[in-house]
Symmetry: C2
């Protein structure tokens, strides 16, 4: 697999990044090629890992998940097994949509979706509360999501 992308490949990635449902035919028209080479290029981009997958974006608010919280977490100790156990425990929690190991005062940053403050309180007390590797937490509440592109802008 040759890992060099030309400008056409990049344009295809940008088009697919904003609309996974665009047809090969339309893609072809946008990059001034016929469908066949475009089809092959897209397959190459998929096989090469440039495209990790195609997903539908679901509106959380429509499903009554209106609250986004960034939850900073400090572990009790910093050995490898505790960190691994924490990640394993966190992976199971549906409310947690993202988890990052971070620099700074805290060890992990979670992005959490909750229905409301009551739900979030329940999440912190009952779910995070039973993750024994956690030392302390600090929650930052989102008042407004101003921008989310879901992909890098390259």
């Amino acid at each position: 697999m040759e890992e060099i992308l030309d400008q056409t490949d990049l344009r295809l990635l940008r088009l697919l990044a904003s609309d996974a449902k665009i047809t090969t035919k339309d893609l072809a028209a946008r990059v001034n090629l016929s469908p066949s080479p475009v089809f092959e290029r897209v397959k190459r981009l998929e096989a090469g890992g440039f495209i990790k997958g195609y997903i539908a974006l679901i509106d959380p608010e429509k499903l009554n998940y209106g609250l986004i919280v960034f939850c900073n977490i400090k572990l009790k100790h910093h050995d490898k097994s505790i960190g691994h156990q924490f990640v394993t425990d966190i992976m199971r929690l549906d409310e947690v949509v993202e988890c990052y190991n971070i620099s700074g005062d805290y060890d992990f940053l979670l992005k959490v979706y909750a229905k409301d403050m009551k739900h979030y309180q329940d999440f912190v007390f009952n779910k995070l509360g039973s993750v024994t590797s956690i030392g302390s937490t600090h929650s930052t509440f989102v008042m407004c999501e101003n921008k989310n592109t879901y992909n890098i802008n390259f």
Copy 2:
């Protein structure tokens, strides 16, 4: 538009949330229906705003964007026009993929993708540096992305 979803609708949303390319035929098999009603349900979910769109997930690392930074921002002043100007300015920056108005010590939280530390430094000095509404910033660097589901888990 009836805003009540049954279990079949929820299953369709979950299936599409993880794979936008699944065919109506396969969807139908998964929910034990024929393609036609599934097709109609999906159109209803799209029209009703439950599905906001379909996107390809691009691997940032493959495009040499290996650095994720959460950048906390404090504004100089807190009037409406300054906040609005800040959001407008931030929307233009390609490196910023997400922007949230948050509670706590800082006013905004940005998720930023950069090629490397040098690129991020340039972003902070040259791009954020020219956004005059910014008072101060605090950067948190991601060492490892442990989880990202890209959607709520409902």
